[in-house]
Amino acid sequence: MYDKLKNLDRRWIFLLMFLSVAIPIIIIGITGQSFPEKPTDLAYSTFNAIEDLKPGDKVLLSFDFDPASEGELGPMATAFTYHCAANELNMYFMALWPVGPQMIDNAIENVIKKDFPDLVYGEDYVNLGFKSGGEGVIKVIVTDFLELFSTDAKGTPFNDIPMNKEISSVQDMDLVINISAGSAGTKEWVQYAVTPYPDEITLVAGCTGVQAPLLYPYIPEQLPGLLGAIKGAAEYEKLVFDKYYRDEGKVVPGRYQEGVRRMGPQLVAHLLMILLIIAGNFIYFVEKKRGVQ
């Protein structure tokens, strides 16, 4: 046992990890069943931040991530967009990452076009597109959008878009939602938007697991709501789609269950991780014992 473990080729570990993720995906994918979710307070406060807004309120959604982290953040983007659309909020999409616009288009395609076909581009939602410069962009648009966003993603001049007439800077937004995979992202939004204008700007965010720990220090003063990793996404998905589907006795479409679904592989893989750590320490202690003898 000990010697087996001791000289275990790490490729076996790789194989285990592969299986513990692959098998749940296939099973859940075929059966459509997954584990239940129990939202935490942070998920609730994020949910409420949007619930508390009135129809027609202005929300800025900054999609600061790329396909590399779509696995974690895609479900959040979908759920956020759905939640805003369902509450009849005016959505202003923007991106600090070059590929952000594609993430925005996905959200618009999968949520707005499919479930809210009567929303009008330019009146209910607008895609302001990507601007390079990371935190620099934030610093500028907290006081003036036009300086950088002279046009929207389609090249329409900023002021020719009806819903843009009501906004001159981020401070005019009733809520800023940031989905971020790193820098520039939530940290920068807190540093350069919320810190200088604590009264004007409210920020809630969804972030990757890596980022979450770094953002907790900003909670709750600068960051009232935060969704951490796929778990956060799953919790939020549950809150949103319970409200709009299950509570009305409807079945939730598969595309709105990505987060919950991915918690399956998560569980198995996490257990594997724990087993590996235990196994590793088993070796360590045996070694120590033998060392003593």
């Binding site: 779509e70 598969g254 991915r262």
Partner: protein, 329 residues
């Protein structure tokens, strides 16, 4: 041909066969598109209108010059099947060879990269070479169209840029942007045979300004705001009643921050009281790292999950959570 080679050949052959059968019998890995037509008419000098748009009704489009093209949108296998059943003679949905090929290429690349886990091999080397070439060029293209054009030439001569690349662009020329232009040229002087030292000037400028910005930015945003957030009462009351647990947590938080800061002290050796305090500080740091580890693991597994979902869903058609192929909600 030794045994190992033989085994591998067999494995690959069987796998390939399976894939082909899967593809031929179930259309697995095929992609479909919806074609969208665009047509514009020149109604008066320099004014084009979409013939479908409301504005078009203001003009007589008879014999006006036209611009036409049709673009593609991604469609699902379900859309395609439904439109086929609908028997509409000019169906907008069609099979896309380029995207189907793309899906297979993407799947192959995914497997090539993963093969590195077994051991370094030509497949991985190939994938590696491709990703380096493509990504380097990708970022250069992004830099050109998203930075150089709008933020350099767009500022120096808006009229010139708005004449071809960004028709929406307006505004006055801002000659301050000659500074980055000149610095940029100095930078490129490296490629010149002599006087390459001139390229240190732009570097010096970049480093100097960076230092200035970061110095203030971090003192203001991180340093001060973190102190501010740490100023919390050690006794928490809620409408008159003392909350022990919250007060206790606040105390722990403060102790954590202070001891961990002591750990970073450089002036004093970690001995005696300082040593003990620093030790407590390290404990807090370790808990922090543990938390970071736990969260990071989550993220990584999700990433693997989505790659495998791609293989099983888009490529092999084993699972279909988003109901893209079978009719459903």
């Amino acid at each position: 041909m030794d045994r190992q080679k033989l085994i591998w050949t067999v494995v690959f052959a069987v796998g390939a066969l399976g894939l082909i059968i899967n593809a031929l019998t179930r259309d697995a890995g095929s992609a479909y598109v919806k074609s969208v037509d665009h047509e514009f008419a020149l109604v008066e000098k320099g004014k084009w209108v979409d013939v479908e748009s409301d504005d078009a009704l203001d003009f007589d489009l008879e014999g006006k010059e036209r611009i036409r093209w049709s673009s593609e949108e991604q469609a699902t296998y379900r859309d395609y099947q439904q439109s086929k059943q609908a028997k509409s003679d000019e169906s907008k949905y069609s099979f896309s060879l380029s995207m189907t090929f793309g899906i297979w290429v993407a799947a192959m690349f995914t497997l090539f990269i993963m093969s590195f886990l077994f051991k370094d091999n030509p497949f991985y080397k190939f994938a590696e070479s491709v990703v380096v070439g493509v990504s380097a060029a990708y970022w250069m293209v992004v830099g050109f169209w998203d930075v150089i054009i709008p933020n350099l030439f767009g500022k120096l001569s808006p009229s010139f840029i708005s004449n071809w690349a960004m028709p929406g662009l307006s505004g006055e020329a801002d000659f301050w942007y000659l500074v980055p232009l000149v610095l940029g040229i100095m930078l490129l002087w490296r490629l010149a045979p002599s006087g390459t030292w001139i390229s240190r000037w732009p570097l010096a400028f970049i480093i100097g300004t960076t230092a200035g910005i970061r110095l203030m930015g971090f003192i203001h945003a991180d340093f001060l705001s973190q102190i501010r957030n740490s100023i919390i009462p050690l006794a928490v009351f809620e409408n008159g009643s003392f909350l022990f647990w919250d007060s206790f947590l606040n105390l722990v938080l403060i102790i954590g921050v202070l001891t961990a800061i002591v750990y970073f002290f450089f002036s004093i050796e970690h001995k005696g009281v300082v040593g003990k305090t620093a030790r407590v500080g390290i404990w807090f740091l370790m808990v922090t790292f543990g938390a970071a580890f736990g969260y990071t693991v989550m993220g990584r597994i999700a990433l693997l999950a989505i790659r495998l979902e791609f293989l099983f869903d888009d490529w092999l058609w084993i699972i279909d959570p988003a109901m893209n192929r079978i009719a459903g909600i």
